[in-house]
Amino acid sequence: MRFMVMVKATKDSEAGAPPTQELLEAMMAYNEELVKAGIMKGGDGLQPSSKGARVQFDGAKRAVVDGPFAETKELVAGYWLWECASLDEAVAWVKRCPNPMPGPSEIEIRPLFELADFGEIVTPETAAQWDRLKAESEGQG
């Protein structure tokens, strides 16, 4: 199973505070473990929402709203993509993660959709597109 593991934002990450040397070291060591275990499929840190924007879709209308966005604890500050045998395995790995923030923080684990999950709406054409998409995103993230 593939999972997205999301680190939620905090006031510190939204303020653009750089990680401490200690956290950077701990996170690098943790990432190395994930790679050695064959779990790591990708991951990135996101810049604060002040550097981002939102696009609102309503019919044919597109409205752009610049960041920052207020609901800090619902924002994403970073993520990994993992391949694990089960949700329990992903949970066990998250438990070993160094606290990614200076204060209390939260990580959300979400299984990813696979093509088979879409059932009947998959046509041969969309299946071929899916394969091309996955080939394109191989080793990315």
């Binding site: 593939r2 997205m4 750089p18 990680p19 950077l24 690098m28 190395e32 790679v35 064959g38 790591m40 499929k41 990135d44 840190g45 996101l46 810049q47 929402s49 550097k51 981002g52 924007a53 939102r54 696009v55 609102q56 879709f57 309503d58 752009v64 966005f69 619902e74 994403v76 949700l87 949970v91 998250v94 438990k95 606290n99 990614p100 923030m101 209390p104 923080s105 939260e106 990580i107 959300e108 684990i109 979400r110 299984p111 990813l112 959709f113 999950d117 879409f118 709406i121 046509t123 054409e125 969309t126 597109q129 899916w130 091309r132 998409l133 394109e136 995103s137 080793g139 990315q140 993230g141």
Partner: protein, 140 residues
């Protein structure tokens, strides 16, 4: 630069309602355009939060809360990772996405090593590059 495009959840996505086949097909075409333009690095859909969980870190404590989670419009339902020349280019591409109805999508630049300045020592850069090389050569 790389930009992450975050698709917010809706009542339907949280309820596990399958996309309209027409919208699903349009999204396939849009993804093909992104590939042809050399922009698309990754694209994934997330299962509803009822299938997920959250872990709270506080000191050495780890507390788990199972989904579903209530604040639907702040939850994530999927994402793309794009390689673009500028943030504006990402905004322009996003405007062409085949979303109808009331949808909000968030664009966030991704940190690159350069953004960490002096913290990225030559030793750390090498470790990071070795790591990337190692996971890229793995199958699947």
């Amino acid at each position: 630069m790389r930009v992450m495009v975050l698709v917010k959840a809706s009542k339907d996505s949280e309820a596990g309602v399958m996309p309209d086949p027409e919208v699903f097909a349009k999204m396939g075409v849009y993804n093909e355009e992104l590939i042809k333009a050399g922009i698309l690095l990754a694209a994934e859909g997330l299962q509803p939060t009822s299938k997920g969980l959250r872990m709270r870190f506080s000191g050495s404590e780890r507390a788990i809360t199972d989904g579903p989670f209530a604040e639907t419009k702040e939850l994530l339902a999927g994402f793309w990772l794009w390689q673009v020349k500028s943030f504006d280019e990402a905004v322009e591409w996003l405007k062409r996405a085949p979303f109808d109805g009331n949808t909000e999508i968030e664009l966030r630049p991704v940190f690159e090593m350069e953004d960490f300045g002096e913290m990225v020592t030559p030793e750390r850069r090498e470790r990071k590059e070795n790591l990337r090389a190692e996971f890229e050569k793995r199958p699947g």
